[in-house]
């Protein structure tokens, strides 16, 4: 879709809320990267992904600059959602249109002038890999649960919008299969950046950006040093997921939830 392929996105430092210069030289994001942005509430996590989303040019509150392939991005990247290489999905992102899932996707497919009709079915199938509650093509968009909506929006961003970079702002709260999402995005060569409070999502990301007082405090590349923590987080996540399913099904949990 995009005339210019994205090789890399570079974030150049801005200022903290108290006006101090950020202490990193640059942060580079390439296809296939997984990055989580962590830090206390109000530390500037969402502001950082907003800077990426609007390709800040030292004109946002943070003073950061975001480059595409080493230079200022063309204006259409920033202004035209159909040319924008970034899809931002937040907890607030909604589908307002009161129409069926298949019609909604068809509307997007038409606006993108995509002729491949199979893409609608494939998008719904992909979304269903992310959620435990199956989405049916004839379900109303407005009747989908939070998890179904997020799953569908991620699948739409991957297949129909074909955005090379996905920004996911605390989507883990909606109960989607985080690991599967990360797997699919990585396999598809997408760069994905999570704003997250979730230990598993953080540990699954190859890099962690730590925020404080509106600024990037440090960037951690754990490599394989957190392997033990990751398997622990996976085990706990599995326990919680099974308990969730039992509770949803109306069962009493009397035995162990270990796999």
């Amino acid at each position: 879709m995009n005339p210019t392929p994205i090789r890399e996105i570079t974030i150049l430092p801005g200022r903290s809320r108290s006006g101090e210069a950020e202490r990193f030289r640059e942060i580079t994001i390439r296809p296939g990267d997984t990055i989580s942005i962590v830090g206390p509430t109000g530390s500037g996590k969402s502001a950082l992904i907003n800077d990426i989303e609007v390709f800040a040019q030292n004109d946002t509150a943070t003073g950061r600059t975001v480059l595409v392939n080493g230079t200022s991005p063309p204006e259409e990247f920033v202004r035209d959602p159909a040319h924008k290489p970034v899809a931002l999905i937040t907890q607030n992102t909604r589908c307002l249109a009161d129409m069926a899932v298949a019609e909604f996707l068809a509307m997007h497919v038409r606006s993108r002038k995509i002729t491949d009709e199979g893409i609608i079915g494939r998008t719904i199938d992909l979304a269903n890999e992310f959620t435990g509650e199956a989405i049916r093509p004839d379900a109303r968009m407005t009747a989908l649960s939070g998890g179904q909506t997020r799953s569908l929006l991620v699948a739409d961003a991957v297949l129909i919008a074909a955005a090379p970079i996905l920004l996911l702002d605390e989507v883990e709260n909606a109960g989607i299969f985080k690991e599967r999402v990360i797997e699919v995005l990585r396999a598809g060569g997408k760069a994905v950046i999570f704003v997250t409070h979730d230990p598993l999502v953080s540990l699954l990301s190859a890099r962690r950006i730590v925020m404080r007082d509106g600024a990037v405090e440090r960037v951690i590349e754990p490599g394989d040093r957190e392997g033990a923590a990751l398997s622990e987080a996976r085990r706990l996540d599995g326990i919680l997921r099974r308990m969730r399913e039992e509770i949803r099904a109306g069962n009493l949990i009397t035995g162990s939830a270990e796999a």
């Binding site: 609007v54 509150a61 959602p81 607030n92 307002l96 249109a97 929006l153």
Partner: protein
Amino acid sequence: MRLAVIAGPPSAGKTAVVRQAIRTLQDRYRIAYLKIDVVRAFEDEELAAEFGIPARKIYSGDLCPDHAGVMVMRDAIDWAGEEGADLLLVESAGLCLRCSPYTTQGLGIVVLSAISGTNTPLKMAAMLALADIAVVTRIDLVSQAEKEVFREKIRETNPALEIVETNALQGTGMRYLLRAIEDFPAITDPDAIMLRGAPPLGVCTICIGKTDIGWQHHFGVIRRLEDADYLYRGD
């Protein structure tokens, strides 16, 4: 002095857009603000308190707010001049969306909310047709698909319209609106400013307070049921 006229449906985020514009431009311009509303408005007091700029309002009452705006615009330019302003922002509450309050020698800004439904741009075609730039607010709340479709519907109405998408509370994307305000030429002759298109004025007997039902009781612009197909066909 530069002039920008901001219009759009109620609660579209017009004042949030104005606030962002003032916040960024106040270092470079002395800004005056006029709000035209129907019954109550508080924006003039809020903006005057927040930014210390000359601000005032008029209530259109029984008159359509866009008509009221047309009536007072020339006076407003004099007022802003007396205040030493070099940028006058006029915000109109224009309600029925058939009017287009934009003038020559001033930037026409239409503000629409992305959550107002994908067909809204088609419903306010008259206003979009004569504007220079559309600011789509609350863009952070809608899905990618709806963003794209909304944009397409705006383009369908006016292919030449410049579109700025923003979360006006955060100010994202506003740099393009600010550039448009600054790039627009200043007023050269205030006495030659004209409305860009003839609005559906027709100050009719209902406008002035006659409440009888049925065309037989009215004069001026009247319509029978049988020939009411084109209640208005504007520019």
